[in-house]
């Protein structure tokens, strides 16, 4: 079940009523939200409910024992090993089998390995990371372990962020389970604005950029002219931003209406004047997770410049692999890591650029690196690169006017001052509750009317 669909609309309307009926009964509310979340996930594929349940059990048991004297290290290793092992099997088995199969073919030992295909459960990368966050936070003493498994089950399965984030930290979410914040007029207004902006970004900007230009260009890269290929790459930069930040906006808005607050996941990333700043603004919940649970434990900023560069590259390469089990994602992560390392070297030597130039260079670097990310395979990436560098700049078919309009809107979605959003929230906060509901309903209707028939899945579902 995905957000911008009628089935989700009906599902959420029912959950909203049930949540209201559970007011003042925390145990019932918790059970209802777990049931709703498992239903939400089960509609996609009922077989993987057991997998999510298993991940929850590992995290809960790990949390129970990880603070016992003498058990910290073995329990931490065992829990994280089991969780990463699960991720490894379901997400990376195919990748390693296909790579092995390719290697064997190249030396004349081709083997049919299609028997080993494993289905990728949607959202597994997100909920496994949340499970790891719970065990590690308990081990570090940041939070107390939960005796009630329902607390951990709700934290891991909570449907607004279950399949595509934001990755919510246990230390942020668990205290809210005990005392959800009732949606005041201001909170409802914030939720309405976030949901409507998120739907517009996804259903209108991201989907049409994909359908009108990005998908056909990447499907047949060799048949395109250079200008179309370059514009398609630029369009993808705004498509993925609107798609993913749109999902995060909707998720945060929905959670607010249920009484929970997630941290912001995007903060105008294409305004960044360095790669370091880009990663502080893009998918913030993942960047901070990787920083706290991978980069710092690997050594972080400690040691010489060479060592820090290696740690940066290793961390970002693993982040690339997290995004997708394919070589182009690994390359994408590696190049981001290398870019961060070079940037750090420049900073250490006192080299500074004026902000507009630095922003433009950062944007160009980020957009170029979306090429392997979108291509998904080395062949498509190389074909696109060949077209972009060697093709004619004269377009065989002009790029449609709506594409240019959508590019401007996508740019505005990233660059418009945040005060505009605050002013909209303030205006809606002053409406009576019925007026707020009318605003939400009319906005949803308008987005549905503008969108195509059918729903394209969110890009980050595959991760």
């Amino acid at each position: 079940m995905v957000f911008p669909t009628l089935e989700f609309l009906l599902f959420f309307a029912v959950v909203l009523v049930l949540n209201l009926l559970c007011d003042g009964r925390p145990a019932t509310r918790k059970a209802m939200l777990i049931g709703a979340s498992y239903f939400f996930y089960g509609v996609w594929d009922v077989r993987f409910l057991a997998l999510m349940g298993g991940v929850t059990v590992v995290a809960w048991v790990g949390g129970l024992f990880v603070t016992r004297p003498g058990l910290r290290r073995p329990v931490l290793i065992l829990s994280i090993g089991l969780l990463l092992g699960t991720l490894g099997i379901f997400k990376y088995a195919n990748f390693f089998i296909l790579s092995l199969s390719g290697l064997l073919s190249s030396i004349g030992l081709a083997r049919d390995m299609t028997w080993a295909g494993v289905i990728l459960p949607v959202g597994i990368s997100f909920y496994v990371f949340q499970a790891i966050s719970y065990v590690v936070d308990v081990a570090r003493g940041d939070i107390a372990h939960r005796k009630n498994p329902a607390d951990v089950a709700l934290y891991i399965s909570f449907f607004p962020q279950l399949v595509a984030g934001p990755i919510v930290r246990a230390a942020d979410f668990l205290p809210q389970i005990d005392a959800p914040q009732p949606p005041t007029a201001a909170i409802r207004a914030e939720a309405v604005v976030l949901i409507l902006i998120g739907l517009f970004k996804k259903m209108v900007v991201a989907n049409y950029l994909g359908v009108l230009l990005v998908d056909p260009t990447f499907a047949f890269p060799a048949e395109q002219d250079a200008l179309t290929a370059w514009v398609a790459l630029l369009a993808y930069a705004f498509q993925i931003f609107c798609d993913f930040s749109g999902y995060s906006d909707i998720a945060i808005g929905i959670a607010l209406l249920l009484g929970y607050r997630f941290q912001r996941n995007f903060n105008q990333p294409y305004r960044a004047a360095s790669l370091r700043e880009f990663w502080q603004r893009w998918h913030i919940s993942l960047s901070s997770f990787i920083r706290d649970y991978l980069y710092i434990p690997l050594g972080g900023n400690r040691g010489g410049a060479g060592r820090v560069a290696v740690v940066l590259i290793v961390t970002m390469t693993l982040a690339g692999l997290w995004h997708g089990a394919a070589w182009p994602f690994v390359m994408w992560g590696f190049l981001h890591g290398a870019g961060l390392a070079v940037e750090r070297l420049f900073r250490a030597r006192g080299l500074r650029l004026v902000r507009p130039v630095a922003t433009l260079l950062t944007f160009a670097f980020v957009v170029l690196l979306w090429l392997p990310f979108r291509a998904g395979s080395t062949d498509v990436a190389l074909q696109m690169l060949t077209t972009m560098t060697g093709g004619s700049l004269a377009t065989s078919a002009p790029i449609a006017l709506p594409v240019w309009v959508l590019l401007v809107i996508g740019f505005a979605m990233n660059h418009l001052p945040l005060s505009l959003r605050s002013r909209s929230i303030d205006a809606i906060a002053n409406l009576p509750a019925i007026g707020q509901a009318a605003t939400l309903a009319l906005g949803v209707l308008l987005n549905f009317a503008l969108s195509q028939e059918g729903t394209a899945p969110f890009i980050y579902f595959q991760f």
């Binding site: 089935e7 949606p183 309903a441």
Partner: protein, 80 residues
């Protein structure tokens, strides 16, 4: 605050029903495209089928569809 949230939720349900009444037979199409809901699937389909019979009996236009066509012709999305 609870009273306000109740008003908000009830109003949302009202608008949801209004949107359905004014949007042709989309609900029924959607219901049959929906993933199988297991034990409650037959009951949900029967409920939606009954509601749709009532709605079509009232002879209302597909105002949503007309609005959508108009928007798409203005924006150029209709040619996608």
């Amino acid at each position: 605050m609870r009273k306000q949230m109740t008003s908000f939720t009830l109003a949302l349900w009202f608008f949801l029903l209004a949107a359905w009444v004014l949007s042709g037979d989309r609900l029924l199409n959607w219901a049959y495209e929906m993933p199988d809901l297991g034990p409650v699937d037959d009951a949900v389909l029967a409920l939606l089928d009954g509601a749709e019979t009532l709605r079509s009996g009232a002879g209302l236009h597909d105002y949503f569809g007309e609005f959508r066509t108009l928007l798409h012709s203005w924006t150029g999305f209709g040619r996608s």
